[in-house]
């Protein structure tokens, strides 16, 4: 028998009392000083500072993942983790790259949104609409703000749930986010309340909307319903090359949360996201996850089905053009009996783009009467296109009906031929087929997004963008 005694309680080398905040300058790189300065700047309670510093410790200690996409291009020392130098802040529409501006035009994005998306202006100019939505929410008792405000104004709710779904040591990028997080949404929906209008990031008051290290916390109390939308179809230019976001969702008994993401970051961005939801008894979680942009995305929205009768749905669409790698997927963990999950993933690779589906379905021994299904389909448009599928499954209870199916193929010649015979040229035919392929995803989007997305896909197919 081996006995190894070792030190467990760790005294932080930089005990927070010792950090000299005044030393902090707007410089690149990450350190306990930077983290402490962030916390000080936001005037956070001590528990949050401790949380951040501990997370930083985990971040330094954890190795880079040895699976998934190629992350060797990330230069951690060359990134601003919070306060940026002054010259960066005064950005105008003219600073946005041509290709992005052109796309905005072609997509017909209204000017107000453009300004917002380009980070130029903090306010949503259609003030009437904006204000009336906020008034409605207040009447319902819905809390909707950024996380900084949530922590400050609603500490008891915030502390109860924050970090319980994704602990800071969950993975390297969750650790990073936990150390330097800023911005993101805080949503609390009271019992029985149904929020009919989808909540979107730019309804928040704050300007820190398109943050690199967003932290979102959504709590849907018993019997409530909310739909949250993140991102947008228009290509979103970002100076920041690393985005490491964390999204935690808790659906209490009987609650229903739908979280829609359409990510279209510019192609210099490494988009590494940890998204996880807990569904309690009779609750439903839906992840509608669209990945169009970024240089590399690694994202696996997960659902833990913790209560009986819980249901999870993941609908994922990914498009990878030349130079892009979308490594996405889902995880459904069936902990309680009588739970169901359904995953549908559609991906398209064009040029030398690469899509990977990575998923995990787990049914624990106590989870009887489970139905779980996964369906992944990938389309390879060009000779150099690439697709991978890595579906993991662990089924530890026999009382389960589980199926997983995946296909990879190219656009059928007979389909093209048929469309050509109807007078549609090959390029348009391919575009039609691509649209049809993504249809299960697109039809779940609110109409204006669906319209924009279809236009964006058409543009991508033309090769005129990305």
């Amino acid at each position: 028998m081996t006995v190894q005694a070792h030190e467990l309680t760790k005294d932080y080398k930089y005990g927070f009392h010792d950090v000299d905040v005044s030393v902090f300058r707007t410089e690149k790189g990450i350190s306990p000083e930077v983290v402490a300065a962030i916390s000080d700047h936001k005037q956070e309670p001590e528990w949050m500072l401790k949380f951040r510093l501990k997370a930083l410790d985990h971040f330094f200690k954890r190795p880079m993942p040895n699976w998934g996409a190629d992350l060797s291009g990330i230069d951690f020392d060359n990134i601003y983790y919070y306060i940026k130098p002054v010259d960066e802040m005064g950005r105008s529409w003219d600073d946005v790259p041509d290709s992005i501006r052109n796309t905005f035009d072609r997509l017909g994005i209204p000017e107000a949104e453009r300004n917002f998306l380009a980070g130029v202006s903090a306010q949503y100019d259609s003030e009437v609409v904006y204000h009336s939505i906020r008034a409605d929410l207040e009447k319902l008792g819905v809390l909707f703000s950024d996380c900084d405000t949530g922590l400050r104004d609603h500490p008891e709710i915030f502390k109860r749930y924050f970090g319980t779904v994704i602990p800071p040591n969950d993975n390297k990028f969750a650790a990073l986010n936990s150390a330097v997080w800023s911005g993101g949404s805080f949503v609390y929906v009271p019992k029985g309340v149904r929020v009919e209008v989808p909540l979107q990031a730019y309804f928040r008051i704050n300007s820190d909307n398109m943050g690199q290290f967003e932290r979102t916390l959504i709590i849907a109390d018993e019997g409530s319903y909310v739909h949250y939308i993140e991102g947008c179809t228009a290509p979103t230019y970002s100076n920041d090359s690393l985005h490491a976001a964390v999204v935690e969702i808790i659906a209490e008994r009987g609650a229903h949360v739908r979280y829609t993401t359409i990510q279209n970051w510019s192609d210099n961005v490494y988009n590494l996201v940890t998204k996880r939801a807990i569904a309690k008894q009779d609750a439903t979680i839906e992840w509608i996850d669209g990945n169009l942009g970024s240089k590399v995305t690694m994202k696996y929205p997960s659902i833990y089905l913790m209560g009986e009768g819980a249901h999870g749905e993941v609908l994922s669409a990914a498009f990878a053009g030349t130079g892009q790698h979308q490594d996405a997927g889902s995880k459904c963990i069936h902990v309680a009996p009588n739970t169901t999950s359904n995953v549908v993933s559609r991906s398209i690779s064009k040029g030398s783009g690469r899509t990977s589906y990575r998923g995990h379905i787990k049914v624990l021994p106590k989870a009887t009467n489970v139905k779980a299904n996964v369906r992944c389909d990938a389309l390879l448009l060009d000779e150099e296109s690439r697709s991978d599928t890595y579906p993991y499954m662990d089924i530890e209870n026999p009382d389960v009906t589980f199926g997983h199916e995946a296909t990879v193929s190219k656009v059928g010649e007979d389909q093209i031929f048929y469309l050509q015979s109807r007078g549609i040229d090959e390029q348009q035919a391919t575009a039609l087929i691509v649209n049809g392929f993504f249809e299960p995803f697109v039809k779940e989007l609110p109409m204006e997004y669906a319209v924009e997305l279809n236009r964006l896909l058409a543009l991508s197919m033309e090769g005129s963008i990305g």
């Binding site: 028998m1 006995v3 602990p167 040591n169 624990l364």
Partner: protein, 107 residues
């Protein structure tokens, strides 16, 4: 040998804030000293192959955080208090007798 008391270490081997990993018949278990009180649980995290004795001790919550993904386990009940672990670890009885630490495995 469920239930039988096995002597595994000296009390002085595990001071407060420390942990030890011991194998009883090839089953790895972990013993923690939380401010003088001893707790004993399975060493292997219920989520994935990791040694809990190498994790972070949270004295306030009387919990151990797994070094691999941060799941915390209550040392008194073995319950997983944060994701991604969802299954508990077993708690074993531990006592001190004549300066020696003894453990009785649960079933």
């Amino acid at each position: 040998m469920v239930g039988e008391w096995v002597t595994v270490a000296r009390v002085t081997d595990i001071p407060p804030g420390h942990a030890a990993r011991v194998e009883i018949e090839e089953l790895p278990i972990a013993i923690f000293n939380v401010e003088g009180e001893l707790h004993c649980i399975d060493d292997t995290c219920s989520h994935q192959e990791a040694s809990l004795s190498e994790g972070d001790l949270d004295v306030e919550r009387c919990a151990i955080e797994c070094p691999l993904h941060g799941s915390a386990f209550d040392l008194r009940t073995g319950e997983a208090v944060t994701l991604p672990a969802v299954e508990p670890v077993r708690v074993h009885r531990v006592e001190v007798s004549d300066g020696m630490i003894r453990v009785a495995l649960s079933g």
